[in-house]
């Protein structure tokens, strides 16, 4: 398959770009931050996401979506990266939807998917428990009861957990932390008794939550996928989210690089445009190369996910690792090349640096994914 967008995909890209530039630019994030907005994103913008079909991008038509795919989801994510648009899109429309599609019963899919596509409900996935992403280390306990399970434990870095109606929780029914077996997924109402949600505003002014589960009772119907064998579904959801994060990283790296190039062509020192200095030209050329080479991995990963290829997980790890590395380079060089003004809150460059840091950490940093790749290659 050619590693380029089709005409239809380009159309989607243009409309997503124009919409976000107009209705959800970086200045909106600043405003949400400065006004300490109670939910941290614009409901109007999210409704627009619904109207434009974004929220149903992975949801089959029978459940009210458009049934497109990961390439299209990635196109939206890339534009989100360009404009740092706030929304529960990644958590709800990509990660949670993928988990439900992968392992949900028809009844579960009928119950949850139409609401996620229509924006009536927001879902998220609750995976991480410690300071680094280590999915085999899941320790939140699921103890069988007569009617279902009791959940006890805590999750952190739950994206948009503060506004979620539905939680998809990775729990351990058997085995010990470190085992990939024994993990079971649950889908439950975020307002269930014993669920305590603490909003955690992150360094990038976006939102996550720390969620504790104290004797939370769930029925058998809350089990998502096979008991003790939730690893596969968990990874499908994570891989979809990782590919999405890679696309957002690519978009934000593209954006900061464009802004940096523009600055190199207007800022003067020593009587010359600073873009005339070879010390900066070569570094700019290097960032260009890194961006173009990473771009190939991102679209490749999305195509592999759409094809449900055996290699998809590896392709996603490659994309996430390299997008993280490239974006880190782009934001650091952006601040450095902007000089003093790059350090100010007034300039928007800092917002991109902060977002890149969070996305890098999300669902496995560069080192995590490089380790995965080495292991998959047998070394």
């Amino acid at each position: 398959m050619p590693l380029i967008f089709t005409e239809e995909q380009n159309m989607l890209r243009y409309s997503a770009r124009d919409f976000m530039a107009d209705k959800a630019p970086v200045s909106q994030l600043r405003q949400l931050r400065d006004t300490k907005d109670p939910i941290g994103f614009s409901k109007v913008v999210y409704q627009n996401f619904v109207d434009m079909g974004f929220t149903g991008v992975l949801v089959p038509e029978e459940f009210g979506g458009t049934g497109l795919g990961h390439v299209e989801a990635g196109i939206v994510m890339e534009q989100i990266g360009h404009h740092l648009t706030q929304s529960p899109f990644l958590a709800s429309s990509i990660a949670a939807v993928t988990a439900l599609l992968q392992a949900g019963t028809v009844a579960q899919q009928k119950t949850w998917l139409p609401g996620l596509a229509s924006g009536a409900a927001i879902a998220t996935i609750a995976i991480d428990e410690k300071s680094k992403h280590r999915p085999t280390q899941i320790a939140l306990r699921a103890t069988p009861t007569e009617t279902g399970y009791t959940l006890n434990g805590a999750k952190t870095f739950v994206l948009n957990g503060h506004v979620a109606d539905i939680l998809i929780v990775a729990a351990r029914r058997a085995g010990d932390a470190g085992d990939s077996e024994g993990i079971t997924l649950f889908v439950l109402d975020a307002r269930a008794q014993g669920v305590e949600i603490e909003r955690t505003v992150m360094v990038d002014s976006q939102n996550a939550a720390r969620i504790t589960f104290k004797e939370v009772q769930v029925g058998i119907g809350a089990v998502l996928g096979p008991v003790d064998a939730g690893w596969k579904t968990l990874n499908a959801a994570l891989d979809a989210a990782r590919a999405a994060a890679a696309a957002e990283l690519l978009g934000l790296a593209d954006e900061v690089f464009d802004r940096t190039l523009k600055y190199l062509k207007e800022r003067k020192q020593f009587g010359r445009l600073i873009g005339e200095f070879q010390a900066l030209q070569h570094r700019a050329a290097l960032i260009y190369c890194e961006l173009e080479i990473t771009r190939s991995l991102v679209i490749h990963a999305q195509q592999q996910l759409d094809a449900s290829a055996d290699e998809a997980s590896r392709a996603v790890s490659m994309a996430k690792a390299r997008a993280g590395r490239t974006a880190t380079l782009a934001v650091q060089e952006a601040v450095q090349m902007h000089g003093g003004i790059g350090m100010t809150d007034e300039l928007e460059i800092g917002f991109f640096m902060k977002r890149a840091r969070v996305l890098n950490e999300l669902f496995g940093d560069v080192n995590f994914h490089l380790d995965q790749l080495a292991s998959q290659h047998g070394y």
Binding site: H282, A285, L286, C289, I293, I299
Partner: protein, 396 residues
């Protein structure tokens, strides 16, 4: 869009033909550059299989699949040529012919040559009858190539050329040379012409240069009152710089894609064999493991990028200077590969002449790879090209 059925038919027919006509010996991986078939007047085939394979492919025009049939090509569409390449890869067929005529001069003649020049030279390239070399660099004109001074004095119907070229790949084994000569001393870029010259002409001589690898793939080439007929001028007089630039993008594509022909050893496989795994099946050397993972990531990304830029070129959506990116990154990546292979091999690869080290194969390849970021425009020149032509930075 293509007609899928037609493509399937072409694929099946191609596979069947290759299976019948590609000798078994030509279906094993090339072990080193010594297995490449360069062709030319003085070519000594390494085996009957190599000769037969070239003859059969040349007869079909598949040494240059996309060239028109009238010039010895296969007349295939890009799509069919891709299918042919895929089927050759699938069956492990070696390239029947490698030649700077195919990769560099041919495309240039198609763009700038007269019909006489095309008819004279292209079929001989396609059949592997003439081996070409490139005379660009001079002792005092490296990165600043346009400062070249080899002078061609105009005598109406011919030139008399005097001067010296350097870094001429395989000049001592080549039949003809395409080179840049100065035809106007008053104009730097607009005083250069692109000419072709038979290496048998009186006054042409070559001298191999021994490299740090101990091998001599490059020569110095001397021109001492060499007569070059005017019909060997490509493009117009004093407009050779444009021809040269076009040809350089072809060369950059080729160097950027290097390692495609004789596949280098796998770094991770070598590391497993030489360094060993711990009980968790991880490389004993944790630092090396991390470095190899980074390398594998970048190599996979680069291969996909070659593919993607190819896809963009087919739709005419690629910036022409993207070849500088491929040249830059491919060269740097290859240097990393051989550094890692040396590290993996440790003491074993330090043996320069032993049978065990295959006469220092890895060490010599490691040393040779250092030239990748110098030849065909240094890495620094590629970054300049990207800054100027793609990023449009000022004053570059």
């Amino acid at each position: 869009m293509c007609n899928l059925n037609e493509t399937d038919d072409f694929r099946a027919a191609t596979r069947a033909w290759l299976e019948t006509n590609c000798p078994a010996e030509m279906r094993s991986p090339m072990k080193s550059d010594g297995d490449i078939c360069w062709g030319g007047r003085n070519w000594k085939y390494s085996s009957d299989a190599q000769r037969l394979w070239l003859q059969r492919m040349a007869h079909r025009g598949w040494t240059v699949p996309t060239w028109p049939k009238e010039y010895g090509g296969g007349g295939l569409s890009r799509l069919e040529a891709n299918v042919l390449a895929q089927e050759m890869a699938y069956l492990g067929c070696r390239p029947p012919l490698t030649n700077f005529g195919i990769s560099m001069l041919g495309p240039t003649l198609f763009k700038f040559g007269t019909s006489e020049q095309k008819s004279e030279h292209l079929p001989k390239i396609a059949r592997g009858e003439i081996r070409w070399c490139q005379g660009y660099s001079e002792p005092n004109s490296g990165s600043d190539l346009a400062s070249l001074t080899t002078f061609a004095q105009d005598y109406g119907d011919h030139f008399i050329v005097n001067g010296q070229k350097i870094w001429t790949s395989y000049a001592d084994q080549s039949d003809w040379i395409f080179c840049l000569v100065r035809t106007d001393k008053a104009n730097k870029h607009n005083g250069i012409s692109f000419v072709l010259c038979d290496m048998r002409t009186a006054g042409v001589s070559t001298k191999p240069i021994m490299l740090i690898s101990g091998n001599s793939p490059f020569c110095e080439t001397f021109f001492d009152n060499v007569r070059v007929e005017k019909n060997n001028l490509i493009g117009t007089l004093n407009a050779g710089w444009n021809v040269a630039k076009y040809l350089l993008t072809q060369e950059r594509d080729m160097i950027g894609a290097m390692g495609e022909e004789s596949a280098p050893p796998s770094v991770s496989q070598t590391a497993k064999a030489k360094v060993g795994l711990d009980p968790q099946n991880r490389l004993e050397d944790a630092q090396l493991r991390a470095q190899i993972a980074e390398f594998d990531l970048d190599e996979a990304a680069f291969r996909l990028t070659l593919e993607r830029v190819g896809d963009m070129q087919r739709l005419e959506k690629a910036h022409a200077a993207m070849s500088s990116m491929l040249k830059y990154y491919g060269a740097e990546l290859n240097k990393r590969r051989w550094e890692l292979l040396m590290t993996c091999g440790g003491i074993d690869e330090l043996e320069w002449e032993s049978k065990k080290s295959q006469q220092g194969f890895v060490a010599r390849s490691w040393l040779r790879s250092k030239g990748n970021s110098i030849e065909g425009g240094t890495s620094e020149v590629q970054l300049n090209v990207i800054a100027k032509r793609i990023l449009e930075l000022p004053g570059a």
